[in-house]
Symmetry: C2
């Protein structure tokens, strides 16, 4: 399938227009006309080879929403015209214990990334979502509720599920107190989901000027963390804290905010390891855990939840020719709260 989009050709080059060929439609594939593709900070890390060797040319993009334009002959899950979403992986081994539980994000044999690698045949390059179209096995795509503003849907496929999954797994809900560290592309989704789940939500942020946004999104409390001593009075008051910040921070100071049996979940990948004092864990049987995105069944569950609660990401819609500027602004955290590229402009 002929495609056009944006690609980087090496770690030092900018995104530029790129025409390429996707594979032919297979029996269980759906063909997608992309409407919007989100820009995730991890796109930039991979485009610039900051996370180990990358595969070039690279078409980034793993927050994809669009509509179905074609079906392989075995597909029954979708029909032409359906709204459809694609996230950070497009396949997995399908046989390991994680995959059998629908937790393909933890595939023991490694799932297949949406870009920056090969498909499971080991030779077809997986090109991502900064493109006018896409092809995916129907088992790895999800239905998008019709009532949502489509511009804010693409980021749900990565930023959204990355927050939704740990909130559900660690049982955020009525009567629980949840903290979200960082109000960016990830954090703002955490606030919306935690609130919709019924939790009491506190945002921890370095930026005092984000308070009004946080409250508007549903936060009950906003704590400015420029001075880390602001945390002390909150000792032993949280059930669950999600750290969306990849910059180095004093993680023990946040662990200390957890109640008995509370959990702090890290969802970013900072360059340095965390420094974790044993004492703060022992003091209240606290846990520090990690979580990444969600499996296909949970992504569908999240989208249905979004449909019910009318939740989307706050986005700035841009044209393809703005993508390089958007990269710089994403690095500078100068975006409210996620860029999505209008796919008609590729």
């Amino acid at each position: 399938m002929k495609s056009r989009g944006l690609a980087v050709k090496d770690p030092k080059s900018a995104l530029e227009p790129f025409e390429f060929e996707r594979r032919e439609l297979r029996d269980n594939d759906v063909a997608i006309e992309i409407a919007y593709a989100g820009i995730c900070h991890s796109d930039i890390h991979q485009a610039r080879e900051e996370w180990g060797p990358s595969l070039y040319p690279m078409v980034p993009g793993h927050e994809i929403v669009g509509s179905v334009t074609g079906l392989g002959r075995a597909v029954t899950k979708f029909k032409v015209g359906d709204l459809i979403g694609v996230g950070v992986f497009i396949d997995s081994c399908r046989t390991c214990p994680s995959c059998l539980k629908g937790l393909q994000q933890y595939c023991e044999n490694g799932n297949t990334g949406t870009y920056n690698g090969y498909e499971r045949d080991g030779k077809t390059i997986a090109f991502g979502g900064y493109s006018n179209n896409f092809l995916i096995d129907a088992d790895f795509a999800v239905h998008v509720p019709k009532n949502l503003d489509l511009t804010g849907v693409a980021p749900l496929m990565c930023a959204g599920i990355t927050l939704y999954s740990p909130l559900k797994h660690w049982k955020a809900g009525k009567g629980t107190k949840v903290g979200i560290i960082g109000l960016g592309g990830l954090g703002h989704m955490g606030v919306k989901f935690a609130k919709a789940l019924g939790a009491d939500v506190t945002v921890f942020s370095h930026s005092p000027n984000k308070e009004s946004d946080a409250i508007a999104m549903g936060a009950d409390k906003f704590v400015v963390t420029k001075d880390i001593s602001a945390l002390k009075p909150l000792s032993r008051t949280f059930d669950l804290i999600l750290n969306t910040v990849s910059a180095e921070l004093d993680i023990s100071a946040y662990l200390n905010l957890l109640r008995l049996d509370g959990t702090l979940v890290v969802i970013g990948l900072p360059g340095k390891p965390y420094s974790v004092g044993a004492g703060v864990l022992l003091g209240a049987r606290r846990s520090m855990a990690g979580s990444q995105v969600g499996g296909i069944p949970e992504i569908q569950e999240m989208l249905d939840f979004c449909g019910t609660h009318n939740i989307t990401s706050d986005v700035e819609v841009i044209n393809a020719d703005y993508a390089n500027t958007a990269y710089e602004r994403t690095i500078a955290s100068d975006v409210k709260y996620r860029f999505v590229i209008d796919a008609r402009t590729f």
Copy 2:
């Protein structure tokens, strides 16, 4: 009550014979004739002021077993002659959420240590178990099953419950695979409990010569960790790993051994923080948690479990005048597997 035992007078002095006065028997107190007092590595840390300021003169000892010799007039829980055990705390606030759950080890107002501090009146020095007798509020003492070899019971009160509690909390049992890092005073109790609970047990140890002991205690597998690469083939195979080692180790290499949703529990207090890579947590939704001893109800549950399964600590029984040598041997890990002082020799 007149008492004699061993005390240190300052951080640099050795244990020496000490005569002192315990408080009078209160209404809810039991008086105890001590039979055996265990030596815990934490006694040494506190005697030598390695964990912050200590209170001198200090009578260490928080692994106590003996028999009841006297009762306050309100006591119904014990009768004279009962076997009785005392652990690492002798009181707590009794009103915070943790205490109300019987989890006095996590008392939010701080529980009262068995020694090296004041009782809750803020003025009565708490003298520990290296002594011929003891006084304690009956609510904070437990019954010891009669069928157990009493020499190996004292260490259950600290080393024992420190392992039993996390094994129970994180559901070690039939069908689960448990790893115990370190085969010392703590670790050997972990092996016995995990096995009795029905788990498959692997010991990780630097000391190849401990293998036969580990197997005799019930371990299914013994992994020598001098070369950390020995861990690699075990990636993603454990549900629960307990780290009993306070020396620095590559904790991420052990976290990597956990299956999806597995937990590594730290129960020692190393001098340095752990260095924890986020990636290993994210890769399989792993957790790192902390746990300390257990509450009074769980200590009783553990002793009953020990009675049923005939579990005690492996000990070397010593006389009081050997205690300073025992300290040096404990530091050198030259003990199989816990020293207990025969209280008749004080």
